[in-house]
């Protein structure tokens, strides 16, 4: 979708594509690039990837995170977030992917790709979407340690 700060339509995200089983594969990035490149109004693209860290927690060292979600509420929340951010920034296009299931350390579990006319809006939109996802989308991460202990992730 092209055209300044026109809010993106509701239900913008493809429900079949948003949730990825396991880590997000690198080809998701090139798919975003190809789609955004086809839009002549786009002057800035920004991709944020959230990656699973080998954090030290009380239960041990994190080996991976098992993600679960209320899928239909999460999809609805993603679209609400995008619609709101589109109304606040000059978002031209956006893609979001989130992992479900197990993602080992080093794997990407979240992708936010935004396309805008200029860089300032891209950074602003990406950050706004990221922070809103953490607060508003019903997804849960259970950290699994190398010793097969587990602990529910807490967003900070």
């Amino acid at each position: 979708m092209a055209g300044g700060n026109t809010p993106l339509p509701a239900a913008r995200l493809d429900p079949e594509a948003v949730f990825v089983e396991g880590p997000i594969a690198p080809h998701a990035l090139t798919a975003c690039y190809r789609r955004f490149a086809a839009n002549s109004a786009v002057g800035a693209e920004l991709v944020f990837l959230g990656q699973v860290r080998a954090d030290r927690i009380d239960a041990g060292t994190v080996a991976g995170i098992e993600y679960t979600a209320h899928r239909s509420m999460a999809l609805q929340a993603f679209n609400t977030v995008i619609e709101r951010v589109a109304g606040q920034t000059e978002l031209i296009d956006v893609e979001v992917r989130h992992s479900l299931g197990y993602v080992p350390v080093g794997g990407a579990s979240l992708l936010i790709a935004v396309a805008t006319g200029h860089r300032d809006q891209a950074y602003r939109a990406s950050r706004a979407i990221l922070e809103a996802i953490k607060q508003e989308v019903p997804i849960y991460g259970r950290e699994i340690t190398t010793g097969q202990q587990s602990s529910w992730k807490i967003n900070r």
């Binding site: 579990s109 529910w152 992730k153």
Partner: protein
């Protein structure tokens, strides 16, 4: 508060995040008295699943967040959603 108008209905109750450690199941069907306020529905669920009362969570009825005082006439699904931790 439940009233004499109440009748018992099967409702799918879903648990998320740390609540799974309390219930040991992600989903179950409970017989809940409706209509009722959300607070009353919550107490009915807690009676069935002791330990939930120690946790903080929001309640969604048929995928819409509701406040404790809201009156619910009927429901297909009730979800108990603690703080999110995606991303």
């Amino acid at each position: 508060m439940t009233t004499s108008r109440n009748s018992v209905h099967p409702v799918v109750v879903r648990y998320f995040g740390p609540l799974l450690d309390v219930t040991g199941t992600a989903e179950e069907t409970l017989e809940l008295a409706l209509p009722a306020r959300v607070n009353d529905i919550e107490r009915q669920i807690q009676r069935s699943r002791p330990g939930l009362e120690l946790h903080r969570y929001r309640i969604a009825v048929d995928e819409a967040f509701r406040d404790g005082g809201d009156s619910i006439e009927q429901a297909r699904e009730i979800a108990l959603l603690p703080a999110f931790s995606g991303g």
